[in-house]
Symmetry: C2
Subunit: 174 residues, 2 copies
């Protein structure tokens, strides 16, 4: 399956690397979508450097079965740009799997997708989500229909496992 | 008057410097409160380096007439620490002037102080505040009773002016 990963500078290095490795190892293709195709994006710890495979202007939600949103400082940049917010909204409207970790759920909040949803996030973001009407729980991974959320780097194996489970179920239903 | 300024690493340099200069020029005393007394705090642009005058553990809301919350990455660090969140809550409970700019209102959101308030903030934070029940307006400075908020570095002269106006009114009522 094709998985869109929306990314900006300052992402939490492990929150890209671990899901990306687990997903590609299972045979999925992860496409990194940035402001510009080919731009270099560096993680906040300087450990990961990746190039955007696709620009947000050219990205079509119809091409992807799932959306991955790593945390760190990346989501705060992404949610300041309406093109990324609309992309997230369209993925959700089309019922695609939406997976966000740590600060990733900040862009779900901007996109107006959290009210009434059961989810988790980084501890500071949990409070924002709760006040926006989400049902927030403090667990390593939470699945609510098409939404998979986790709290922090320690949760990444559980996060990746649930994304893979959901993709397997999706494949079985086809 | 004594003004408490809560601060952590990565603050937006100008959002400390300009209000601090305007307030001290008007004869007020700004006390920088950090996690530890004496810790060096560096702005996100590396232009400003300040030392904390006081630790959050020793800080007493009763000693201050106003609270200043610069933006940048500082508020996200502060709101992860319950001691700062409680300090903000106590300043508000005691009716002290609370002034926050850019990402500063994030800690007001964490502290549960935004529902029903008329206020502003950095554009991404505006959406969070609105979903938490604040009445958000997109103006350079907004005053709602004891709360003064602004959006970004360009607003700092208006922000500083309104803080000074509020402190003058407070002095006149004494």
């Amino acid at each position: 399956m094709n998985i869109a990963c929306i990314l900006a500078e300052g992402f939490e290095d492990s929150e890209l690397r671990i899901p990306l490795n687990r997903l590609t190892a299972a045979g999925h293709r992860v496409v990194i979508i940035g402001k510009q195709k080919g731009e270099e994006l560096v993680g906040k710890r300087g450990k990961e450097r990746v190039r955007a495979d696709e620009s947000i202007d050219a990205a079509d939600p119809g091409d992807y079965q799932a959306l991955l949103i790593p945390g760190g400082k990346s989501p705060e940049h992404l949610r300041a740009d309406e093109r990324f917010v609309r992309f997230v909204q369209r993925m959700d409207e089309e019922g695609k799997l939406v997976a966000a970790v740590c600060h990733g759920p900040q862009i779900l909040l901007t996109a107006g997708l959290v009210r009434g949803r059961t989810m988790t996030a980084w501890k500071t973001v949990q409070v924002d989500l709760r006040q926006a009407g989400a049902h927030v729980v403090d667990r390593e991974v939470v699945v609510d229909e098409n939404l998979v959320t986790s709290r922090k780097p320690d949760d990444l194996e559980a996060f990746s496992r649930e994304i893979l489970n959901e993709l397997s179920e999706l494949a079985a239903r086809r």
